[in-house]
C-alpha cells in the first residue's frame, strides 16, 4: 500500500533525567497535562496533519507504552491501510541487536518503511510538548526540493549553545550544523523533527550502518554526512509553543504552562485536538470545603482541600484541610487530610501522602525552585516530612540526582 508520507516516532528512550518517573515506563509514556501522556502530542499531530501511518520504535520498558497505544483507536490510527505500528528490535536469521542509535533504529525498520513505499518520512521523537502541522513542513520540503528538512525555532542567543544550531542562507537552506556550539553562528535550534525524502535517507542509513565508527545517530552522523555531501537541506521555521520535557524541572514547567493561556500552550483549541486514551471514571467532585484555584482537574478526582496553581491528573484525592500548591499530581495520587504539598511532582499510581505530611516547599526569595519528587507508588506515613529538592523512590528510599 503506497503512502506519500509516513511518520516514524522514536520512543525507545529511557529519559534518565526524569529519574523515578521513568523507572518503570519509557519517557513517551510519562503523563502530562492532566490527562495526556507525552506521546499523545506527536501521535495527535500526525493524525491532525493527515499522516495516518506511524511506526513507533520502542525499546526501553515498553509494556505500559504498548498497552497505552493499543490498537491506536484513540488517535484514529487504527485504519486498515495504515495506522500505528509498534516496532521493537527483533531477531533475524543472522541474529539481531538492540537499537544502537536513532539512525540504527530506523535502519532496522527499512523493511517496514519500504512496505509503504513512501516519498517522504517524518522522523519524530516522543519527548516534546508542541502542536505542529507536519503537512506544512512536508510542503516546505517539497517546495525546496530538499533531501532533508529540519524544523527549527529561534531560541534566545544566550541559550543557543545548549542546542543543535543551524546556520542558514537567505533561502533558509541549511549551510552548517553544529551540535551544542560554544560560539553559535545563529539562534536557530533544531527541534529534533525531520522530514526526509525516503530514497535519500535510505541511502544514507545504509552507508551509516556500514561505517563502524558511526554512533548511528541522526544529529551526530546522518545529518552531518548529508550536509558534507552537498545534499539540499532546508530549515522549516516553527513558531509556537515547543518544550523538551526531558527533565523534572522542564516537565513541571510545561505542566504549569498549560494553566496559563499566555504561555502559548493551548490545549482547548478544537481545531487541533490532542487525543488521549482516557480513563473511565465519574466526573471530578469538588467538596463543600474545596478551594481550587488556577488549577487543572480531571475525572475520578475527589477534592475536599485547597488546591492552587497545580495540575491534578485523573483519580486524585485531596483530603479535608490538605493544601496542594505549585505541584503536579499524577494519576491516582492521594493527599490525605491536613497534608501540605508545595513545589512537588507526586508520581501517582497510589502514591499516598499521609495525614499531616509536608512535602516540598516554596523557594526562598530570589532562589530557584527545588522540586520534591515522589516516585509512582511511594507511600508516606502520617506526619512525614520531605524537604524541597528531595526525591523518594517507590519504597520511600532517597534517590539522588
Amino acid at each position: 500500500m503506497k503512502k506519500e508520507c509516513i511518520a516514524m516516532l522514536l520512543a525507545g528512550g529511557q529519559g534518565s533525567r526524569l529519574y523515578v518517573l521513568t523507572s518503570d515506563v519509557a519517557k513517551p509514556a510519562v503523563p502530562f497535562g492532566g490527562k495526556y501522556r507525552i506521546i499523545d502530542f506527536p501521535l495527535s499531530n500526525c493524525i491532525n496533519s493527515g499522516i495516518d501511518t506511524v511506526g513507533v520504535l520502542t525499546q526501553y520498558r515498553p509494556l505500559e507504552l504498548n498497552g497505552y497505544i493499543g490498537s491506536g483507536q484513540p488517535w484514529d490510527l487504527d485504519g486498515s491501510t495504515g495506522g500505528v505500528h509498534i516496532l521493537p528490535p527483533y531477531q533475524g536469521a543472522k541474529g539481531g541487536s538492540w537499537y544502537k542509535g536513532t539512525a540504527n533504529a530506523i535502519y532496522q525498520n527499512i523493511g517496514f518503511i519500504d512496505m509503504y513505499d513512501p516519498e517522504y518520512v517524518v522522523i519524530l521523537s516522543g519527548d516534546h510538548i508542541y502542536k505542529m502541522d507536519y503537512s506544512d513542513m512536508v510542503a516546505r520540503h517539497k517546495a525546496a526540493k530538499a533531501a532533508c528538512t529540519i524544523s527549527v525555532m529561534e531560541v534566545p542567543w544566550a541559550e543557543a549553545s545548549r542546542f543543535g544550531i543551524m546556520a542558514v542562507d537567505g533561502d533558509d537552506m541549511i549551510t552548517e550544523f553544529a551540535e551544542k556550539p560554544k560560539e553559535p553562528k545563529s539562534n536557530l535550534a533544531s527541534m529534533g523533527i525531520y522530514v526526509f525524502s525516503w530514497q535519500a535517507l535510505r541511502k544514507y542509513l545504509t552507508e551509516d550502518e556500514a561505517d563502524p565508527n558511526s554512533e548511528n545517530d541522526f544529529g551526530k552522523n546522518v545529518i552531518p554526512a548529508m550536509l558534507n555531501n552537498g545534499e539540499k537541506m532546508a530549515a522549516y521555521r516553527f513558531q509556537g509553543y515547543w518544550k523538551d520535557v526531558g527533565t523534572l524541572d522542564s516537565l513541571w514547567d510545561a505542566n504549569m504552562d498549560m494553566l496559563s493561556a499566555d504561555s502559548g500552550l493551548d490545549l482547548t483549541d478544537d481545531s487541533w485536538t490532542i487525543y488521549a486514551r482516557s480513563v473511565n471514571a465519574p466526573p471530578a467532585f469538588l467538596g463543600a470545603e474545596a478551594k481550587v484555584t488556577h488549577s487543572a482537574i480531571n475525572r475520578g478526582s475527589d477534592l475536599e482541600g485547597t488546591v492552587e496553581n497545580s495540575v491534578l491528573f485523573t483519580n486524585v484525592t485531596v483530603g479535608k484541610g490538605a493544601k496542594v500548591s505549585y505541584s503536579v499530581l499524577l494519576p491516582g495520587t492521594v493527599v490525605e487530610e491536613g497534608a501540605v504539598v508545595e513545589y512537588a511532582i507526586l508520581g501517582g499510581d497510589s502514591c499516598v501522602v499521609g495525614k499531616n505530611c509536608r512535602v516540598g516547599g516554596a523557594p526562598a526569595e530570589g532562589e530557584d525552585k527545588k522540586l520534591a519528587i515522589l516516585a509512582p507508588g511511594c507511600c508516606l506515613a502520617e506526619g512525614t516530612e520531605v524537604l524541597p529538592g528531595i526525591m523518594l523512590g517507590k519504597n520511600g528510599e532517597e534517590v539522588s540526582r
Partner: protein
C-alpha cells in the same frame, strides 16, 4: 448457550421531560456529568458478562445512534454478537407514525432477531433506567428460584410517571401487579425482567396473535398465577427519570458521596463515550464547591451545588447555583443562574438572571441564547 442476552428498549418519548425530551428519547438523556441514561443499562449488562445486546428503537433516535456508534465504548463491537441496533424492521404499521403500544409490539417488530439469540436467558431493560444493577446476581437468583420471570424492583413505592408496582408474598413471589395508581404501593418496578429465551418467544407469539401488546397487562398481570413471577429487590440508587422534576432531583442526589460510591462502584464501572477535551480549569478567581465537574470546563466564576457536563464555561463574576448544565453551555460574565437545567450549547448572556425553583427547575432547550 448458557448466559444472558440483553434487550434494551429505547423508544419511549416522555412528554414530561419538557424541552429535554424534544430532541431525544429518554434513554439518551444526559445524566451525571458525562453519561447518557442508556450507559447504565449497557454497563450493567457488560459488567455481568453479557456480550450480545439489542437496542430496540423507534423515532427520535438520531441522538441515540450517534451515542451508541458501533458499541465499542462498551466493548460491544464484536464479530459475533455485540451491539445490534433494532429499528422495527418487522413492524406492520406505517413507519414512524404510531409509537409502539407496548413492549410486546416492540418485540414483535423485531421477531426474527429473537430467533437468532444464542443465549438461554434474556434480560429486558428500559433504556432510561439509571442504576448500577448486579445482573449476574439477578440471573443467579432467577435460576436458583426456578422462576419463569424475575422482575427487578426497587425497595420503595416511589411515585413515577406511568410506573408499575409489584406486591409480593413472603417468598418473594409476585402476588399483584399494579399500575395507574393514585397512591403507589408495593415495590416500584425497575422494568428489568429476566426470563428464558424460549419463554420470551412463546409469550411474544401468543400475545401478538391475540392482538395483545402490553407486557405488564397481558403478560405480567394476566399470567401472574399461571407463571412463577419472582421479585429481585434492588436497594441501591435507581431512577427512571420521567419528569423534569425527577431528573433534577436525581441529578442533585449525585452530590451525595454515598450515592456516588454505590452508583459508580469500581467493581462495576459505568462506561461512557469519551469526550476528547482538555483538563478542566478553575481560574484564579474561580470558586467551585459541592459540584460534579466533567472535563474541558473553564470556571472563572462561582459554581455551587451543580453538575457540569464537558466543556461548560462559567465566566468571571457569573454565579451558577443548584444547576445542571449540559455540554458546552456558556454562562457569560455576571450572569446568575439558579435551579436551571440547560441543554447542550446554551448561552446565557452577560448579566442575565434566571431563577427557577426546586419544585420547578427552568429548562433551557438545546442551543438557546438567553
Amino acid at each position: 448457550m448458557n448466559g444472558l442476552h440483553g434487550i434494551i428498549f429505547s423508544y419511549e418519548r416522555r412528554n414530561d421531560l419538557r424541552e429535554l425530551g424534544e430532541i431525544r428519547s429518554a434513554a439518551s438523556l444526559p445524566f451525571g456529568g458525562r453519561y447518557r441514561a442508556v450507559d447504565f443499562p449497557l454497563s450493567s449488562l457488560v459488567n455481568a458478562g453479557v456480550t450480545d445486546v439489542g437496542v430496540v428503537l423507534h423515532g427520535r433516535y438520531q441522538s441515540m445512534l450517534d451515542h451508541l456508534g458501533t458499541g465499542k465504548d462498551w466493548d460491544l463491537s464484536r464479530k459475533r454478537g455485540g451491539l445490534k441496533i433494532l429499528p422495527p424492521f418487522n413492524y406492520q404499521k406505517e413507519w414512524g407514525v404510531m409509537p409502539f403500544r407496548g413492549k410486546i409490539e416492540a418485540l414483535a417488530g423485531v421477531r426474527s432477531y429473537l430467533e437468532n439469540i444464542r443465549q438461554d436467558y434474556v434480560v429486558l431493560m428500559d433504556g432510561d433506567l439509571v442504576a448500577n444493577l448486579p445482573l449476574a446476581d439477578v440471573l443467579e437468583q432467577h435460576i436458583a428460584t426456578k422462576a419463569d420471570i424475575t422482575v427487578v424492583c426497587a425497595n420503595d413505592s416511589f411515585t413515577i410517571e406511568d410506573g408499575t408496582y409489584f406486591e409480593k408474598d413472603e417468598t418473594g413471589r409476585v402476588k399483584e401487579v399494579l399500575y395507574h395508581l393514585q397512591t403507589p404501593r408495593g415495590h416500584r418496578s425497575l422494568e428489568t425482567y429476566v426470563l428464558s429465551t424460549k419463554l420470551l418467544k412463546k409469550l411474544v407469539d401468543e400475545c401478538y396473535a391475540k392482538g395483545q401488546f402490553s407486557w405488564r397487562q397481558d403478560v405480567l398481570l394476566a399470567k401472574k398465577d399461571e407463571l412463577h413471577e419472582q421479585c429481585y429487590i434492588w436497594s441501591g440508587f435507581a431512577t427512571q427519570m420521567r419528569t423534569v422534576k425527577e431528573y433534577y432531583d436525581r441529578s442533585m442526589q449525585l452530590l451525595d458521596p454515598a450515592i456516588r460510591k454505590e452508583l459508580f462502584t469500581p467493581e462495576r464501572p459505568i462506561r461512557a463515550k469519551g469526550a476528547d477535551k482538555a483538563s478542566t480549569y478553575v481560574g484564579p478567581e474561580g470558586c467551585c464547591v459541592n459540584s460534579l465537574v466533567a472535563e474541558g470546563c473553564r470556571i472563572e466564576g462561582n459554581v455551587v451545588n451543580s453538575v457540569l457536563f464537558p466543556g461548560v464555561v462559567v465566566e468571571a463574576g457569573a454565579e451558577v447555583c443548584n444547576c445542571v448544565l449540559f455540554k458546552e453551555t456558556t454562562v457569560r460574565k455576571g450572569a446568575k443562574l439558579s435551579f436551571v437545567v440547560a441543554d447542550k450549547h446554551v448561552e446565557i448572556l452577560e448579566d442575565r438572571t434566571l431563577m427557577g425553583h426546586t419544585n420547578y427547575p427552568i429548562v433551557l432547550s438545546k442551543g438557546t441564547k438567553v
